[in-house]
C-alpha cells in the first residue's frame, strides 16, 4: 500500500531556498506555458458560465463575446422549474447516507479484523479484498434483477445499498491498515480499565482513525455523488434522480434551450469547484490515496 503525506507548500518552497533570486527567462517561459495550459481548464468553464446569460442566437453567433445582460433568473428557473434543486437534494441524501453507512459499518468491521481473533476472519477479509478488484460490470446485471425482485428499484435504497457495498472494501482495507499500525498497548490499557468491545470501538478506535475516516469519507462521498451507471438503470422516477442522471434528463428535455442548459451545468459545477478549492489538499490526498489502495 502506498500512502502519501500531503506536502505543504512551505516544504516544497524550502527546497528551493538555496537558489538565487531574480527573474530568469526560463521561469517566465514556464509560467506562460503553464498558464496557457491552465486556460484549457478555465476557458470551457468560463464559456459555460457566460453562456448562461446569453440567448440562443448569441451563443450561436458570438460564442466568445461577453453577455449583454446579466439575467440571474435563469439559475432560479433551472433550479426550481428544471428540477436541478430536487436532483441536488437527492444526490445529497444518497451520498450522505451511503457515506455514513460506509464509515460506520466499515470502521466496525475493520476494528474486528484488526483487533479480534475469530474463526473465518481470513476468509471474510479475502472476500472483502476481492471486492476491491471486482468491476461493477461483474454484478450489476443480477443486482438489477435482484432489486427488481425486492421492489427496491425507483427507491433511494436502490442506490444507497450498492454505493455502501461498493465503498466498504476500500474502507475496511484502509481503516484496518490504520488500526494495524497503532500500538497494541492502547487497546490493552483500555481493556484493563474494564472497557468492553463496544466501548473501545467508540472511545478508542473512532478517535484514532479520524484521519483514515476522512480519506474514506472523501473518496466514498465523491464516488457516490458522481456515480452514473446504476443511477441511470435503477432510478426512472424524476423526483428521485441524482445529479448525473438528472442533468442528462435535463439536457435532453431542454436540448434547444441552451442558456438554461448552461445555467444548469454551472449550478452543478461551481459549488463543487468552490468546495474543492477550499479543501483541495485534503481532497486530492483522499482521492489519490483511495485510488491507490
Amino acid at each position: 500500500m502506498a500512502t502519501f503525506d500531503a506536502v505543504s507548500n512551505s516544504d516544497a518552497a524550502q527546497s528551493f531556498a538555496g537558489r538565487k533570486k531574480g527573474v530568469r527567462p526560463s521561469d517566465v517561459l514556464f509560467h506562460v506555458v503553464m498558464t496557457i495550459y491552465a486556460m484549457l481548464f478555465f476557458l470551457p468553464l468560463l464559456w459555460m458560465a457566460m453562456s448562461s446569460f446569453k440567448t440562443n442566437g448569441q451563443i450561436f453567433q458570438s460564442p466568445f463575446a461577453l453577455p449583454t445582460s446579466w439575467d440571474w433568473s435563469v439559475f432560479a428557473t433551472a433550479w426550481a422549474d428544471g428540477g436541478i434543486g430536487q436532483y441536488a437534494v437527492n444526490s445529497f441524501i444518497v451520498t450522505a447516507v451511503s457515506m455514513v453507512a460506509i464509515l460506520g459499518l466499515g470502521s466496525m468491521a475493520a476494528f474486528a479484523f484488526s483487533r479480534m481473533k475469530f474463526r473465518g476472519s481470513g476468509l471474510l477479509l479475502t472476500l472483502f479484498t476481492l471486492g476491491l478488484l471486482l468491476p461493477i460490470q461483474s454484478y450489476f446485471i443480477a443486482q438489477n434483477s435482484l432489486f427488481e425482485y425486492l421492489h427496491l428499484k425507483d427507491t433511494r435504497w436502490a442506490l444507497i445499498i450498492p454505493y455502501t457495498a461498493m465503498g466498504l472494501p476500500l474502507a475496511i482495507w484502509l481503516l484496518k491498515a490504520y488500526l494495524d499500525s497503532l500500538p497494541k498497548e492502547l487497546f490493552e490499557a483500555a481493556r484493563i480499565d474494564g472497557a468492553g468491545d463496544l466501548r473501545i470501538y467508540w472511545s478508542v478506535v473512532l478517535p484514532l482513525v479520524r484521519s483514515g475516516m476522512a480519506t474514506v469519507a472523501i473518496f466514498s462521498a465523491l464516488a457516490a455523488w458522481n456515480e452514473f451507471l446504476l443511477a441511470l438503470l435503477y432510478i426512472q422516477n424524476d423526483e428521485l434522480k441524482t445529479i448525473p442522471v438528472g442533468l442528462l434528463a435535463f439536457s435532453t428535455k431542454y436540448i434547444t434551450d441552451y442558456h438554461l442548459l448552461f445555467a444548469a451545468l454551472t449550478i452543478v459545477t461551481i459549488p463543487m469547484i468552490v468546495i474543492y478549492v477550499l479543501f483541495h489538499r485534503r481532497i486530492a490526498q483522499g482521492l489519490t490515496e483511495g485510488s491507490l489502495k
Binding site: T155, R210, T256
Partner: protein, 429 residues
C-alpha cells in the same frame, strides 16, 4: 489543520441527511415501495411539448376532482431513454406505472406476451369510451383479437417536411416524382442551401426515413420478411435500394453533423433555416408549436420511385396509445382515467395545443391543417409500413439502422453496410 474542520462538516452533513431521508421515508417520498392501498395512479409516457403537457395536467385535475383522495402522477421521459431503458425498468420496478405509453406492432406484442398489457376492450365499451372515437381509431391497438391500448395518435413516422419560405424564395414546389425530387435537391444545393437536416445520433430518425425508401423499392413484403429474419437483408435488391441514401451522402445533401446530434438538435437546424427539409414524423407539428410557433412549414409524402416493387403511395406510420398494466391493482381506476381523458373538452384542448386527437369531438374541432392532412394521409393510405424499431425485433432494427447511419456518414458502400447488418442478424438466430 483543516482535517478536524472537515471532519465536523462531514459529520454534520451526514446527520442532517439521515434526518431528511428518515423524514421522507415516513412520508412516503419515494423510499417506500408500492403498497396496493395507495391511491396514486401512475402514468408513464414520453415527454410531449410544453403546451400538450398542460392538457395532461388538466386531465389530472379533472380526474382528481372526480375521485377524491386519488392523485395522478405523471412520469414524462425523453423519447429515446423511455423506449430503451426507461419503460422496461419502470415496468419491472417498484411503483410500476398503472398506465404507460406504447407503440403498436412488435413492441405492443411483447408487452402482451410478458403479461404487462391488460385486455380493456369490454370495459372501454361499457364506459362508452370506444364510441367517442372515430372509425378505425382502434386499428393497431389489438393483439390476438383483444384490445389492449387506448389510441392517442396515428403517427405518420416519415414525411418530408420543408421550409415554405426557402421553397418560395427559390420558386420550388413539392415534387411529385423521384426525378423532380432529385432535381429539387440539386437546385437547393446549388443555391448554397443544405437540402436536409437531421439528428441521427439515436439511429431511428434516418432509420425510419430510409426504411420507407427501402420498402418502396424492395416491396413491403420483402421488407417485412427481411426484418423478420425470413429472408436476407443484403440481396441485390436491397443493395440497390440502399444506394438512394448513399446518393444523399455523396451529393452532400445532408448536414455533416447528422450522426453526432440528437433528433431535437436536428429539428432546431431545420427551424433556424440551416436546411430546407427534414424527413421526420407528424410529431414535428407539436415540436414546432412549442419551439418556434411562427415557423412556416409544410410536408409531402415520399414521391413515387420508378421501378420500385412496393406500393408507391405507401405511408410509414404507427399507432401510439396508452396501455393499462395488467399487473396493476388499479385497472378500474385506469379505465376511469381513460373515460376522463376521452372527454370532448379534453380532446379539443389537445387539438388546440397542437397535439393530436382520434376522438370524434377532437377531430371535428378543427385540427391544425397540417395535422389534419397527415391524419387523412394515414387513414386513406393504401399500404402502411411499420418503422423498423417499433414494428420489428429491436436488434434487427438496430442492425439496419446502423447500416443506414454508416451510409449517411459515408463510411461504407451499400454492399458492405448491408453485409455487416446481415452478419449481425445471422448471429441472432
Amino acid at each position: 489543520m483543516r482535517l478536524s474542520r472537515l471532519a465536523s462538516v462531514v459529520a454534520a452533513l451526514g446527520a442532517s441527511a439521515l434526518l431528511i431521508s428518515g423524514c421522507s421515508s415516513s412520508s412516503g417520498g419515494g423510499t417506500t415501495s408500492a403498497s396496493p392501498s395507495d391511491q396514486v395512479l401512475r402514468i408513464a409516457m414520453t415527454e410531449p411539448g410544453a403546451d400538450v403537457v398542460k392538457v395532461w395536467q388538466q386531465v389530472k385535475s379533472e380526474y382528481e376532482a372526480a375521485h377524491p383522495g386519488w392523485t395522478v402522477q405523471y412520469n414524462f421521459q425523453n423519447d429515446d431513454i423511455y423506449s430503451t431503458v426507461g419503460l422496461p425498468s419502470l415496468l419491472s420496478g417498484g411503483n410500476a406505472p398503472d398506465i404507460y405509453f406504447e407503440w403498436s406492432g412488435n413492441r405492443l406484442q411483447t408487452r402482451v406476451a410478458d403479461g404487462y398489457a391488460a385486455s380493456i376492450g369490454d370495459q372501454l365499451k361499457a364506459k362508452g369510451v370506444t364510441d367517442k372515437y372515430v372509425d378505425g381509431a382502434f386499428g393497431g391497438t389489438t393483439v390476438d383479437g383483444k384490445t389492449v391500448m387506448l389510441p392517442l395518435a396515428k403517427d405518420v413516422s416519415n414525411v418530408i417536411w420543408y421550409n415554405k419560405d426557402i421553397f418560395a424564395k427559390l420558386g420550388l414546389t413539392a415534387p411529385t416524382t423521384w426525378a423532380e425530387f432529385d432535381a429539387l435537391n440539386a437546385k437547393l444545393k446549388a443555391a448554397g442551401i443544405t437540402p436536409y437536416a437531421m439528428g441521427n445520433k439515436d439511429l431511428w430518425p434516418a432509420g425510419n426515413w430510409n426504411a420507407h425508401v427501402l420498402s418502396r423499392i424492395v416491396g413491403e413484403q420483402a421488407y417485412a420478411d427481411a426484418l423478420n429474419m425470413k429472408s436476407p437483408i443484403d440481396s441485390a435488391d436491397w443493395v440497390a435500394a440502399m444506394d438512394k441514401m448513399k446518393q444523399i451522402h455523396d451529393s452532400g445533401w445532408i448536414n455533416d453533423s447528422v450522426n453526432s446530434i440528437s433528433d431535437n438538435e436536428g429539428y432546431t437546424l431545420f427551424f433556424t433555416g440551416k436546411a430546407a427539409m427534414t424527413p421526420i414524423g407528424s410529431w414535428l407539428v407539436d415540436v414546432r408549436n412549442g419551439q418556434s410557433p411562427n415557423f412556416n412549414m409544410d410536408w409531402f409524402n415520399l414521391p413515387p420511385i420508378d421501378g420500385g416493387k412496393g406500393n408507391q403511395q405507401s405511408v410509414m406510420g404507427v399507432s401510439t396509445g396508452l396501455v393499462v398494466n395488467a399487473k396493476s391493482a388499479k385497472i378500474d381506476q385506469a379505465i376511469d382515467y381513460f373515460s376522463v381523458l376521452s372527454g370532448d373538452d379534453i380532446q379539443k384542448a389537445f387539438v388546440k395545443a397542437g397535439g393530436s386527437s382520434l376522438s370524434k369531438a377532437g377531430a371535428a374541432s378543427g385540427l391544425n391543417p397540417l395535422s389534419e392532412r397527415l391524419l387523412k394521409l394515414i387513414e386513406t393510405a393504401p399500404e402502411i409500413v411499420s418503422p423498423p424499431d417499433t414494428g420489428y425485433n429491436l436488434k434487427v432494427a438496430d442492425a439496419l439502422n446502423t447500416a443506414t447511419s454508416a451510409i449517411l456518414g459515408g463510411a461504407m458502400s451499400s454492399q458492405d453496410a448491408l453485409t455487416q447488418a446481415q452478419q449481425k442478424i445471422d448471429a441472432l438466430k
